[in-house]
Symmetry: C2
Subunit: 369 residues, 2 copies
């Protein structure tokens, strides 16, 4: 298979990927909660089918466009987990007519606009800011919450379904205990908000969503559903956090060697920021790394090699710094395997996948815009 | 026009863009050198036509795939300005049959592979590392150069055409004098290499390529062609370097406001790293900025506003921090204009353009992969 790869390619190990899916589906089943996986990581109809085979029925996406793509591929229960863009009411209504659409609001203006312009029922979730401080309503903003809930109570088409949070701050941790504390705080705060409105909305649900806490915790209580996304592929960032082992990372870039510079032990590959994205990790010596080199084999790839790293990116070039010994192993025209720092962004930049048996899978970003 | 924009959109001001093209075409004509613009910035057949109307006949691209795209759109003289990927000889030969193809080599292994597998003539350039230290042959590596040139002399299909460099280190400067010095050093070194082989190859050419030096210098001597790319749109990085004024920046993101957080004067827009890319600049207070806010008007947009900046990006969310006064001006559902840090990467991430009169232009990355 590797001999047929002529250009920079994103490899996908289907077996590892299916194992990651099965692991999370099993964890959700064991805890008696719904897995509503975030499909923004893979954005692929075919990878979506692997979830379907593992029993997934409800999914999460991060834009209305992505919801339309997966609706087209037969998904009937979709949450758009970003504050709804009220400029795009036409698409909201188009989707609400066809599927069970879940929208997220973080302020009364959005709820007012929805109440006014919706032509079909939707499920509305309030996003609560439990500590990440990106967006969401603060759990103690009772006045704001009460005003929104009063509006929801009156609205014919808006069905107040639950409260949710995204613990983006777990991605900055490398200590499992810190991640547990963040998770328990979030579950506590979401339940406080739910309890405030439980009498009037007895079916209200609680939903959380980050890959680190969903990966690290074995027992998850106090929530009705989880929405992790990145776990489908994992990456070096998640390994650094402690969410996964190297062995679970299911995607790997394959980049042709186009130049070698023996005077500084640097190898240049065709693979730059338009392929990897510019996300980085801080390496052992404090410098940034943009990927780690593995050995490609016919069946998959090795763990990262020591002493060889992707240290800089321009638009189409990647610079790999190596020990003398590893530098000597590669020659012009070889294919190098490189694990990505952030698989969501790398997949979005690449626009498709090649499985180890040579199948081509699509990604929404690689479909004509 | 703005009322019709419902989703995150990359706006292109055709007038500014055509002015940038005309300015560089005129400078090249005045200096009696060839403009071989780098099309990796726009990657658009339609923007390519604006160059054609300004007299451009020869172009530069950064991958064989991009060469194929522009060949399909009628370009007959294309340089692939990255060390050639010898795994993709099939595509090299396909292109070499159809167009005047210019390839770049930085080592003897590549030249040997080309000499062996080429089925049609190509123009070969040697890339010289004149100080950037990404890739290229050092100008004093006479043994290596001589061995390659000897091979070229023997080869039937490889036509030794010239020596070129890319001064990527000018992008780290903000002092016009430093940029001039880098430029003059490069021209000096390239001419040294040319002179070494001039007797045997009297037609050898010299080509340089960075946007900062091509923008800042008015008089350019000692070279046969220039290959700037970014100038077609410019961006905040080029303005920071001193290559352009704010007024010359020809692309601007339009992002819907999806949330507002009065307690910290932060506005959340639908526009994240999958839209902007993750390139950043260091702001006045040392913190990173990912874009600057402008006022959108029906005819174009203003200069950047003071006291309001895009300060962080996640996959689909952008966080804008504003003064109280500017914070109050925007409401949920408004469209915010944001100038990109690096227009090449933003255009690649977005995959298409919308002109101010509502035309949709393509970008190679938005065409089915």
């Amino acid at each position: 298979m590797l001999n047929h790869i002529t250009q920079t390619t994103l490899l996908l190990d289907e077996e590892k990927c299916r194992r990651n899916i099965a692991m999370m589906a099993e964890k959700a089943a064991r805890n008696n909660i719904r897995l509503r996986p975030h499909f923004k990581t893979h954005q692929s109809a075919q990878v979506g089918e692997w979830f379907r085979e593992a029993g997934t029925e409800a999914i999460t996406v991060s834009s209305l466009k992505m919801a339309r793509y997966f609706a087209m591929h037969g998904w009937k229960d979709i949450m758009v987990a970003i504050p709804v863009n009220i400029r795009d009411m036409a698409l909201v209504n188009e989707l609400a007519e066809k599927i069970k659409l879940h929208l997220v609001a973080v302020n009364i203006e959005t709820v007012q606009a929805l109440a006014k312009h919706l032509q079909h029922p939707v499920n509305l979730w309030l996003k609560i800011d439990t500590g990440y401080r990106r967006t969401g309503i603060l759990p103690h903003s009772h006045e704001e919450l009460d005003a929104i809930v009063a509006l929801l109570e009156e609205s014919e088409r808006l069905q107040f379904t639950g409260v949710l949070a995204h613990d983006g701050h777990t991605y900055k941790q490398t200590d499992a205990e810190a991640i547990r504390t963040i998770h328990h705080t979030t579950v506590f705060l979401l339940n406080l908000v739910r309890d405030r409105y439980k009498a009037r909305f007895p079916e209200l649900q609680v939903s959380i969503g980050d890959t680190p806490s969903c990966s690290i915790l074995q027992t998850i209580t106090g929530v009705d559903e989880i929405r992790p996304g990145n776990f489908v592929f994992y990456d070096l960032t998640q390994q650094h956090i402690g969410s996964c082992s190297f062995e679970q990372i299911a995607v790997c870039m394959a980049c042709p060697v186009i130049a070698k510079h023996p005077e500084r032990n640097e190898i240049i590959v065709h693979g730059g920021s338009v392929h990897f994205s510019k996300d980085s990790l801080v390496g052992a010596d404090g410098s940034l790394i943009f990927g780690r080199v593995v050995e490609l084999t016919e069946n998959s790839w090795s763990e990262p090699l020591e002493g060889i790293e992707l240290v800089s990116l321009s638009q189409e070039h990647g610079t790999i710094r190596a020990s003398k010994e590893l530098f000597d192993k590669y020659k012009i025209g070889d294919l190098m395997g490189i694990l990505p720092i952030h698989s969501c962004l790398t997949a979005d930049a690449m626009g498709n996948y090649t499985t180890l048996d040579g199948k081509r899978l699509e990604h929404l970003s690689g479909i004509a815009k």
